[in-house]
């Protein structure tokens, strides 16, 4: 769809960004030391940290991506919500408290607390960098997606705008400003999404008045035609029509349900017939790209169980395996994400770490319940762009008017800012604290560490901008699913075994991180979606037949750790010398 510049959206966006930047400059004076820059002096209040967890975690993937997948595929998108939230159980019950005790600034600190091994420092830092960059990609793609309707600018402009703003936030005040940006963003996101859900329930479901026609979009030599006419909104031009409607309601005589309660709304969708949409693009011999936009009548009952996203979209060959693997990766991934783990160093003690996680679970859980209503609301809103499922949530808001659209789009933009800030802090911590100081042995004074962290943040931000352009065509939540697979394969086995298996050795940890990282990355980059959407090759030619490698690579990393640890056990010590494990 072609989007026009929206002044109200721009005004709200500019207002939010001004507040965020003003806050960063104000807080900049509090982050002069390395501990202030990377861990906010460990003095953030647990409640603020809890909501900042939500602000950090509820990324563009959660907001834009999940709503998009639910809007086009139904319950399959909600599976992401369930998996993302379930991952917090691992973080709280298994990881939070010991991690807080063992670390200082970064995830590598905790892993290396027992061994003081250069191998662990190096591999944990590389893993942090790769996972953070993988997680940065969907955030930057989300920024590009948002800027199109918000400012009427191309994808690349959104990526650059977010990149520059986030670099400024991180460089000015590090973790202190990042925490407050995430706190504000988390609060706004949950609050306004709740209001949007109330509006959806109040509108209920409305039956379509006419059957929408299928459309054909042709892109050739930079020109775009829709149904044979140039794309645009002027005379003689045509644009892709907004879609998403109800073919028939539970009561066939009704044209509208009127306001519904939360469970009534879901039951009404379940008992209706919904017009769903797909857009398939094929390259033609003359070099043009033809996209066929087609509708189908789908029973609501079929949309509200696991279904077509896995069978027709994600992995036609192994839908069940992909589903199980994705749910495993989401469950294990949260507690392995470096930018989430470093938030545990910003609070005072273990009790504050626990309490902030519970506050985070409350806010995040509530938001994920809302995503089902947002997605189903978008599915039946008549406002979706059939060629871009990432736009479902902002366009849903647009169906209620220009102001809700302006607010939701601006919040979504702030969402990207909050998450990207956290990711860049994590990545710059890995570069300076883990790689330069701990692994490389560089002698940096406190100000030197902060200065190096700021320079690293600029470089990571620039890399993120490049990747945000390269991966433009993939759904953002799908990309985050990849980041979870990598994090869960590389980091979780090492962390869990270090905590609960006394025979774990430094060689075992190093090997496990390396194998988890390399195996998951290799499988992802050789999968169908990477072939199709990133390299422009045929998905069928991809050597890896399924898209979610976690089910293989997570157990593999555990196995490698166990085998290598058993092979590298230290020689028996005299009984007078206590085992090192017992002291941890």
């Amino acid at each position: 769809m072609k989007y026009d510049f929206s002044w109200p959206a721009f005004a709200v966006f500019a207002f939010f960004v001004s507040i965020v930047l003003g806050l960063s400059f104000y807080l900049g004076r509090k982050a002069k030391s390395a501990k202030g820059y990377y861990a906010a002096h460990g003095q953030i209040h647990w409640f603020v940290n809890g909501i900042a967890f939500a602000g950090d975690y509820l990324s563009a993937a959660s907001f834009l991506g999940i709503c998009g997948v639910i809007a086009f595929f139904g319950h399959d998108g909600f599976l992401y919500s369930i998996g993302y939230l379930a991952g917090w159980v691992v973080a709280l019950f298994v990881v939070a408290e010991p991690l807080k005790r063992m670390g200082k600034f970064t995830f590598a600190d905790a892993l290396d607390s027992k061994f003081n091994s250069r191998g662990i420092k190096l591999t944990a830092a590389i893993s942090t960098l790769i996972v953070s960059i993988f997680y940065l990609i969907p955030q930057m793609v989300g920024a590009g997606v948002l800027v199109k309707p918000l400012l009427g600018l191309p994808h690349i402009a959104g990526v650059v705008i977010v990149g520059v703003i986030v670099i400024v936030i991180v460089v000015t005040a590090g973790m202190v400003s990042t925490t407050w940006v995430q706190f504000i963003k988390g609060s706004l996101l949950v609050f306004f999404c709740a209001i949007l859900v109330v509006m959806i329930l109040n509108r209920g479901l409305v039956k379509e008045t006419e059957v929408p026609q299928n459309q054909v979009v042709v892109k050739k030599d930079g020109a775009v035609t829709v149904d044979g006419k140039p794309q645009g909104h002027g005379p003689g031009e045509a644009d892709i029509r907004p879609v998403g409607s109800v073919v028939s309601l539970p009561d066939p005589k009704q044209t509208s349900t009127g306001p519904l309660g939360p469970l009534e709304f879901i039951a009404a969708v379940q008992n209706s017939t919904i017009r769903t949409w797909s857009a398939k693009t094929a390259k033609q011999p003359d070099g043009s790209e033809v996209t066929a936009i087609k509708s189908a009548e789908t029973k609501g009952a079929d949309l509200l169980v696991r279904g077509s996203y896995f069978e027709k979209g994600l992995s036609p060959e192994y839908p069940r395996l992909d589903f199980i693997s994705l749910m495993l990766a989401l469950f294990c991934g949260t507690a392995s994400l470096p930018h989430i783990l470093i938030r545990y160093y910003t609070v005072k003690d273990g009790a504050a770490a626990r309490k902030s996680t519970v506050a985070g679970i409350a806010a995040i859980g509530f938001f994920y319940v809302l995503t089902l209503f947002l997605g189903l609301g978008a599915m039946t809103s008549g406002a979706m762009d059939p060629t871009d499922n990432n736009m479902a949530a902002p366009l849903l808001a647009k169906s209620f008017g220009e102001l809700p659209f302006a607010i939701i789009s601006a919040i979504a933009f702030t969402t990207v800012l909050g998450t990207v800030s956290g990711l860049i802090i994590a990545a710059s911590g890995a570069v300076v604290h883990d790689l330069m100081t701990n692994f490389g042995g560089m002698k940096l004074d406190d100000h030197g560490k902060v200065r190096a962290g700021k320079i690293a943040a600029v470089f990571v931000g620039i890399i993120a901008m490049f990747l945000g352009v390269a991966f433009e065509r993939l759904n953002v939540t799908f990309l985050v699913g990849w980041a979870f697979n990598v994090a869960a394969s590389a980091n979780l086995p090492a962390l869990i075994m270090l905590l609960f298996w006394k025979r774990t050795t430094k060689q075992g940890i190093t090997a496990s991180i390396l194998v988890g990282l390399v195996s998951s990355l290799t499988m992802l980059l050789l999968s169908g979606p990477a072939f199709d959407k990133v390299y422009g090759l045929k998905a069928a030619d991809a050597p890896v037949p399924f898209t979610q490698p976690g089910i293989i690579t997570i157990p593999l990393a555990f196995l490698v750790l166990i085998v290598v640890s058993l092979l590298t056990q230290p020689k028996r010590v005299s009984p007078a010398v206590p085992a090192m494990a017992a002291s941890v």
């Binding site: 390395a34 369930i82 939230l85 408290e97 169980v305 696991r306 589903f323 749910m327 469950f331 319940v369």
Partner: protein
Amino acid sequence: MGTMSESTRGRNSDAWAYNARVGLILFGVYCVFYGGFIYLSAFDREYTKTPSLGGVNVATLYGFALIIGAFILALLYMVLCRREVDDRPELSEAEVAEKAVEEEGAA
């Protein structure tokens, strides 16, 4: 912050071990609950279509239950956990910042 005394550290070790045990038990409970959802979604999709509370199907209600269940277990964990003792003197914000600079300098 200063350093914890040895006796405090010993008491805290007991609390940490107890908290870890409670965490693992609750984690196990949630794993069974989560595993049940994955099993039903993967291998008995027809059953998940069954309407239940308020006419909403099992798949959706189970999903909501997993989200709400995580929060309830988290609250339970917070109640059951033993609090660690911290006998280090409480510092003001300025002192914390000053201390951090000192620590970094020493490192």
